[in-house]
Symmetry: C2
Subunit: 634 residues, 2 copies
């Protein structure tokens, strides 16, 4: 019963498991670190350069991408970039003013934020499509974190804390990029972002009811219930003129979007829309002397470029926790949005963006921004889409936008002070309507209920609780799912596909034949502390469920990428239990890391080398010689 299986039949020569000596710890550790932090191996092309000068040049080009694209720049590209830069400027002005309003800071800060950061990004950024600017979700999140009361009570302190939060954001993003921890962004899954964007769009939309109805009193909370309650409890403040103007603007903006959707070539109609709304609004407000008739406008906008703000950074212990919280959460969201969007457009052009490099660029952009009166910037969806459609070729379009913004700040800023708030509300609403991705949500519901749950938890959490809780709940559910993946690895029973040497899941392939006397199992994912009890229970259940007597248990470890001490002991425990029942355990195709650990822990000796095979077919053939033939066939 206990005799070893003969594994040395001549047909199997050279096909056995490779039991050569395990690699040293440092080699393994080095290769693990490289896989973890440098999956794209960025320095390989650099190290292949023949001489030191070229190496330095390549290294500089790697860290400061402008050195890579500027020498190849030509007039042909400039033509496209100038066009794209002017187009996105026409979007940047109204968006800058609107989103600054969302963040409860002076509108001029929104314009400042579209001047300095684009230059920084043009130097360090690696995406050719990204257009730099402020984003609605983060703007609202900032004001939610600090509380709108503070913005009313002490606007100067509030503004300084926002600069400080921007500085923290920049530092955080830079550090993540430098330490190559881009993988943290990966934990914000596509489903989480879809739900978060949708939920944010809903609450920002509702916030705009204040501007549309011309309300004076309004709640500080952002959740759907409070906002709707606030709107309906102040019915006496509703102004029909304002609402009418708002609806007209909204219809106009939505029609320009519709035109773009029908004829993508007319993208500039939609891009110019917000600017038209602002100009028309200013003109009307100026002509009818709107401020005297109760039309709320943006208010004074000073001429002049960004004043320095480095002296305002406030690291008082009292505010620090709040500042750090705001900085890190908004930094993470802004980064996830910027990287995801940069990547999606790059894919369409078959270009590559480097997540870690982008983080460094975003980080520098926000650090320098926080010194020059800017608040949080990243690569917003709407602007980037317009930039892409306008045919941008390099980050030069950001430089063009920066120059245009400079001209606006130096000469035109006061003009925009007449912009009616209702126009800004209509611009924001129109932008938000495009962010609720119904189709994607429906798609998630059809294909993956768990992803739909993750998406909905973000969507409903943001809508009904608050933005940060919605995000945390959604990410929490995703991480639990990730842990469940490892705690309950899929395993399946294999059968032979007729007339072949293939063994496949018998649940999936009904043609696969169960083999009498054998139980062949395929395990997936690592075997380690979190799932070893499960693996043991599951294997023993398969043996128990087998109607006929089992002689061999074959475990295919091809899918097991690693194993820890607990996992190893579990396999030994299974072997001991099986041996007492007269069943032999055979290991198939252990992978490199797994085999190394099996050898180091003397697992191989305990199981026996002759019970380890490179393929299921080899094992079945070798076992067949030993299968007891006393048992009659059914």
């Amino acid at each position: 019963m206990e005799s070893a299986i003969t594994n040395s039949s001549s047909s199997l020569k050279g096909r056995g498991v490779n039991f050569s000596a395990p690699r040293s710890f440092f080699r393994k550790f080095g290769s693990k670190c490289k896989e973890t932090f440098f999956p794209d191996d960025p320095f390989k092309p650099i190290s292949q350069e023949p001489n030191g000068l070229m190496k330095t040049k390549k290294l500089l080009e790697y860290f400061v991408p402008i050195f890579e694209w500027l020498p190849k720049y030509n007039l042909q590209k400039l033509r496209y970039d100038v066009l794209a830069g002017i187009t996105i400027t026409s979007l940047a002005v109204p968006q800058g003013i609107s989103y600054a309003k969302l963040a409860s800071i002076p509108p001029i800060i929104g314009l400042y934020s579209s001047f300095v950061p684009p230059f920084v990004y043009a130097v360090f950024g690696s995406s050719n499509n990204l257009a730099v600017g402020t984003v609605a979700a983060c703007s609202l999140l900032i004001s939610e974190t600090f509380g709108e009361e503070m913005s009313k009570k002490n606007p100067a302190l509030y503004l300084h804390l926002i600069f400080t939060a921007t500085f923290i954001t920049g530092l955080f993003q830079f550090a993540l990029g430098f330490l190559r921890l881009g993988m943290l962004v990966d934990f914000l899954s596509h489903s989480t972002i879809t739900g978060f964007m949708g939920g944010t769009a809903i609450i920002i939309l509702l916030q705009q009811l204040k501007g549309i109805f011309g309300l004076v009193h309004f709640t500080h909370k952002t959740d759907v219930v409070s906002v709707l309650h606030s709107v309906f409890s102040h019915r006496n403040e509703w102004k029909w003129q304002s609402a009418l103007a708002g609806v007209c603007f909204l219809i106009f903006l939505q029609s320009t979007r519709y035109i773009k959707q029908r004829k993508p070539k007319l993208f500039w109609v939609s891009a110019m829309g917000p600017m038209v709304v602002v100009l028309v609004g200013c003109l009307v407000a100026y002509l009818v002397k709107g401020t005297e008739h109760g039309i709320q406008t943006v208010g004074p906008l000073k001429k002049g470029l960004n004043p320095p703000s480095i002296q305002y950074l406030n690291f008082e212990a009292k505010y620090l926790p709040m500042v750090i919280k705001a900085g890190i959460i908004t930094g993470l969201i802004a980064m996830a949005e910027g990287i995801a969007i940069g990547r999606s457009f790059a894919v369409m052009k078959n270009e590559q963006t480097d997540g870690n490099k982008e983080m460094i660029a975003f980080g520098l952009m926000n650090i320098i921004g926080s010194f020059t009166s800017c608040y949080l910037t990243t690569g917003p969806f709407s602007k980037t889409a317009v930039n892409y459609n306008a045919g941008t070729k390099t980050p030069m379009s950001n430089v063009v936008m920066g120059i245009c913004m400079m001209l606006v700040l130096l000469f035109l800023a006061p003009l925009f002070s007449y912009t009616p708030l209702v126009g800004l509300s209509a611009i924001i609403m129109s932008a938000m309507l495009g962010l609720i991705d119904y189709e994607e949500m429906y798609h998630l519901f059809k294909v993956d209920k768990f992803d739909f749950l993750v998406c909905m938890s973000a969507f409903l959490g943001v809508s009904f609780i608050s933005m940060d809780y919605g995000l945390i709940i959604s990410v929490g559910i995703s991480v639990v799912r990730a842990l469940l993946y490892v705690a309950r690895p899929s395993a399946c029973k294999l059968g032979r596909i007729p007339n072949s040497v293939m063994f496949r899941d018998i649940e999936q392939y009904s043609a696969a034949e169960d083999m009498l006397g054998y139980v062949i199992l395929q395990l997936g994912s690592p075997i380690f502390f979190a799932n070893s009890t499960y693996v043991r229970e599951r294997i023993l259940r398969w043996i128990r469920d087998e109607p006929e007597a089992v002689e061999f248990l074959l475990i295919d470890l091809s899918g097991v990428s690693s194993v820890d001490m607990t996992g190893m002991e579990t396999l030994l425990e299974v072997q001991r239990i099986l041996r007492s029942k007269g069943i032999k355990m055979v290991i198939i195709n252990p992978r490199f890391e797994v085999l190394e650990k099996m050898m180091l822990s003397h697992f191989v000796e305990k199981i026996g080398k002759e019970y380890m095979f490179l393929s299921i077919d080899d094992a079945v053939q070798a076992c067949r010689f030993n299968l007891s033939t006393a048992k009659p066939e059914p």
Copy 2:
């Protein structure tokens, strides 16, 4: 270039991927839930019973194991169980008194705790080897959580809070068992427990220096630095008589352990050791009128059985957070120790224990215990080992111990009031010396550096910070590792093993031949949001690193147990990027769940059914017809 691969050659008939309709959501969900919560499928044997009466009987036997083993009980088994029960009682008395001292509660509570809980376990417990009792680590952890000051200032309140914490522990353990969340215990890995036990042993050993040196003043902290500082700063209190007695006791106890190690049949020598120390100590203290000469003794022990304590449970809001924290942390540790130990001994006898059933038994034991003046009990290592060695056959040995403890409480308790504290310290020290598993730590260091790190973080964390922080740090590191497993799944490049249809890792098998024009990759573990960026980067790097032009990328998904929306989009993105480079992507052997999702999300249509194969060999053969032959062989 874009023509499809012909997959319909007659030799491949019936060997293609099975594209039949996906399962319904509810079927998938049901099977997932079953795998998650009932991996051992406990109700299957019950549902197979023919009639209702038998079903009820089986169900009762399942939930209350005593109904299963008591009807088969006989005198032969009783003989062993009585012997084992008496042996563990001789250990229970000194351990009960000692560990109650560690928890800063009256010693009689320790004796009470060995009376009621064993009866409860005998009814509901499923392990034949487990002996119920108090444990050193949890006893110290309780006093650490509540703070020793409270035990001095208001001993009655302190005791009531400990009963309440025991009740919470019981409730928590019962709930986990009932909800089948036994997997939570799995997150305390073997390495964490080894380190935690070792660290606890160190700090408990050092605590005993108080008793050994007969100190009166001592620190309330448990970390190594504070305790050693306290011992050496009170040198004036050191009593050489006490130290001498302590060392003698310790040498005696260690010799009995040594005897047991050399001759396992003499296990009772070691089991009786602590009782001998107590009796000798009592005798000496009584004869020399020790209390008058400054020998510290246990103090008055009243005759009589456990008084009810249900009326003392204290749920005041002021103490509740502390009580819940103590209850849950000690509950988790006690459970992990009890289940792990029960299981290790069961494996030696080829028996099975059911983790979830054990949790329910522990839970009931602690709930009823908290009503009857007992504190936290579980299955401690030392007692269980003695029970096993004494040849116990069923949980009846716990009943015998309970009866013996009853006799002790009714008639002998006052005798033990003379026990000198130095004797108890020696008993605890001797027990702790056995809990530091140097060999296991060295083994971890040799085999798995990461497991060693996890172990050491618990060991050093407990020794130098505190027990709960040590545990949290160690579990935190383990979870990060689990997340890294999923965030950085091992992937490898395959080559053909000569003269076979097997494809294996070329790094592992140097004989495996790289195939010109093909890149064959094997992915492990699920592809989902946390690792999709990595997977994309890694695949593109392999393509980039290939010296020759690549025409086909074959991705073997055998090891990929599931995929989410982000993962699916990543695969599509890779395909789009490759297509622009003229490389075709081929999918090999998608598993059941993965294929279902691929079909639901129309991935299959986007990739093309003709690009999906059941084995690498089939794919290579089919691709060969399409491989451009214009390129000259090197």
